[in-house]
Symmetry: C2
Subunit: 361 residues, 2 copies
DNA sequence: AATTGCAATGATAGCGCTGTCATTTTTGGA
DNA sequence: TCCAAAAATGACAGCGCTATCATTGCAATT
């Protein structure tokens, strides 16, 4: 490495607790990092004992454990997970795939997941599939190479081949966000349709009769919300197709404004708009402000997800609060149980949602 | 595993391309996953040849390579990175630590990083340290166990012990966001101070004389912005300490509104406010809307970062556009070069910033 | 004093892969 | 036709760790 002028040559000298040279002398040659053997030699015990001191500390006497810890600290020893995974056939990795991180909904979910798994010694490997089943498959392949002990997927938007890949690996999967009662499927989420239905009913109850639905980024959850809206509005005998605006583009605040403009062109008499998420709704609120449209008097606006901003925007946004953090926590617990071979009481956990009726509707 | 009632027993039968039983027969016993050996036997070549077919395909004849690929597909073979890393002493992992993902700034950066590294066959391991040097150290320790080939850190907010840990591991680090000319330090970012200075000067140029600075989440970058503001305003002879509001709380839109209220209590005659980020500024805009304060006539508002929303809010937000995506891309490239032992022409890359003068100031 | 049981420690093998150094086959002149 | 060089393939060891099955020592019991 050094002769190639690589990084190692540029280290500051003597920065460790011990003198560098003496440390190197006690190290394995190939990597330059201290190994279990190095620690073992230093303490004068066998390798396996040092391994135990870290992996199953109750199996090693307290005194020895302390000495081992001391030696490890002195040498700057860090356990090599690759070797550990190889030997034990447990990687202590779990792979988590989400569609996006720009959408703070998934950030919250991932935060919940991370919290649970970290507490149990697992490492979360996170991948972003950009709402694409194709990318998802590539990611599954990539993460399978880490021999994860389990996998957390968002929704059920995978190809059959993806499912087969995971099946072949023989590891458990838990699906987040959506629910399914399909055989052998574990899921934690809430009913997107029921939530959309609740919001539509809220708008109806407020006396609105010309209620539009606007959505972008037509992933399965968005489409489920659309169904929830449509079924409800049809049942009320108020469905008019020109009040639905569905575009595949990625959601953004700016797009919300643009879509409101489009909606009001094709259906100017609309008296309420249900947006598939808060970003779009927020953009619409801005557009109303610009055009002097009174919200909610002239036009009611509703969103979905209850992002932090929605509570304090002007007007504050009526929306659906989704249990995304809890979905992360619960699905992590479920996956953990599956990994450890425990029986999982419920294969489907519905965490519900809450309608937040605020100023905008 | 099975006798414990673990997941494997719940797989759907015969879902693979081959019959499950026949597949199992050709597999190593311990993991249940196909190995290089399995593929090699199936094709009738040696293990190492199969290894080459994946790792250095140019070293294997095209015909054979195809047959190996076919066999691998049939068996559902996925390379085991742990074994690979152990044998080759290159993990092909890089660890990336960011303070937060709720802040979409870092999401953008991570997206840039991911793109570069994925293209080069590296796997990015991402950790969130919640702006805490203590958590950062724990994360470094955790990620060092993956034997990463390099590390990307946000800022220079680490403890000395953290630095020593990484030094001992002998892997290169590149720091993102901030700049430093410290010996042996690689960094990609922009000058937070210069950006804050530019904004302050912009507000001065617009004729404002009672300019406040409001910040939360006092990480090093926020403090640098504060310095940029303060130096400039002092130089203009206009510094008044009661126009600075600094709180340690996490940033949010709601907090922006609250801090504006506080500022206007303690300095009601303020004519411009420079917020340390767009979230706070957006909250302030909402508060102005609620209280009927005209922006920018009565009060000018400026933010920092240029989040997507800032362009289309009402009024649109004057802010500093930061090159966060490019920071991700460039720092990834720099780290890659260091890993591969190439000479890195510049140890510090300043990607600059842009002032976006919009309606709010 | 002999026996049992348990806690603490050790020896050995091997996880799945690749570095290294052969060995074999092919290729392209002379 | 022959030979050197290059391309293609293989044998083997070992990366750092843990599962497994000993072995040792010592307290508790008979």
């Amino acid at each position: 490495m050094n002769e190639k002028g690589t990084f190692r040559g540029e280290q500051r000298a003597g920065s460790g607790i011990l003198d560098r040279a003496s440390k190197l002398a006690s190290r394995a040659s190939s990597t330059g990092r201290a190994t279990l053997d190095d620690v073992a030699k230093r303490v004068g015990v066998s390798t396996i004992t040092v391994s135990r001191a870290f992996g199953r500390p109750d199996k090693v006497s307290e005194d020895l454990r302390r000495r081992i810890q001391q030696a490890a600290d002195d040498l700057g020893y860090v356990r090599n997970r690759a070797a550990s995974a190889l030997a034990s056939n447990r990687s202590m990795n779990i792979a988590v795939l989400v569609p996006s991180l720009s959408n703070s909904v998934f950030v919250d979910t991932v935060t919940g997941i991370e919290k649970v798994f970290r507490a149990h010694g697992y490492q979360m490997l996170m991948g972003v599939n950009h709402y694409s089943a194709e990318e998802e498959e590539a990611l599954v392949r990539a993460y399978l190479a880490f021999a994860p002990d389990g996998m957390l997927l968002t929704g059920f938007n995978y190809r059959e081949a993806t499912r087969q890949l995971i099946d072949q690996a023989g590891i458990p999967i838990v699906h987040m966000m959506e629910l399914s009662d399909r055989e052998g499927t574990y899921s934690v989420g809430f009913s997107q349709e029921a939530a959309a239905q609740a919001m539509t009913e809220h708008l109806l109850a407020k006396g609105h009769r010309r209620i539009a639905f606007v959505a972008s980024q037509l992933d399965p959850r968005t489409l489920a919300r659309n169904r929830g809206y449509r079924d409800t509005i049809i049942k009320a005998g108020l469905y008019e197709s020109h009040r639905e605006v569905l575009v595949p583009d990625q959601s953004s605040v700016a797009l919300g404004a643009a879509l409101l403009r489009r909606l009001l062109e094709q259906a100017p008499d609309t008296d309420a708009v249900f947006f598939c998420n808060d970003d779009l709704a927020q953009g619409a609120l801005f557009e109303c402000l610009r055009r002097g449209i009174q919200v909610p008097n002239q036009l009611a606006v509703a969103g979905f997800n209850d992002l932090p901003m929605s509570e304090c925007s002007v007007p504050s946004l009526t929306t659906i609060a989704t249990p995304r953090y809890d979905i992360g926590v619960q699905s992590a617990h479920m996956l953990l149980a599956l990994i450890e071979g425990q029986t999982v009481p419920r294969k489907t956990i519905d965490l519900g949602f809450q309608l937040r009726a605020r100023e905008s509707a």
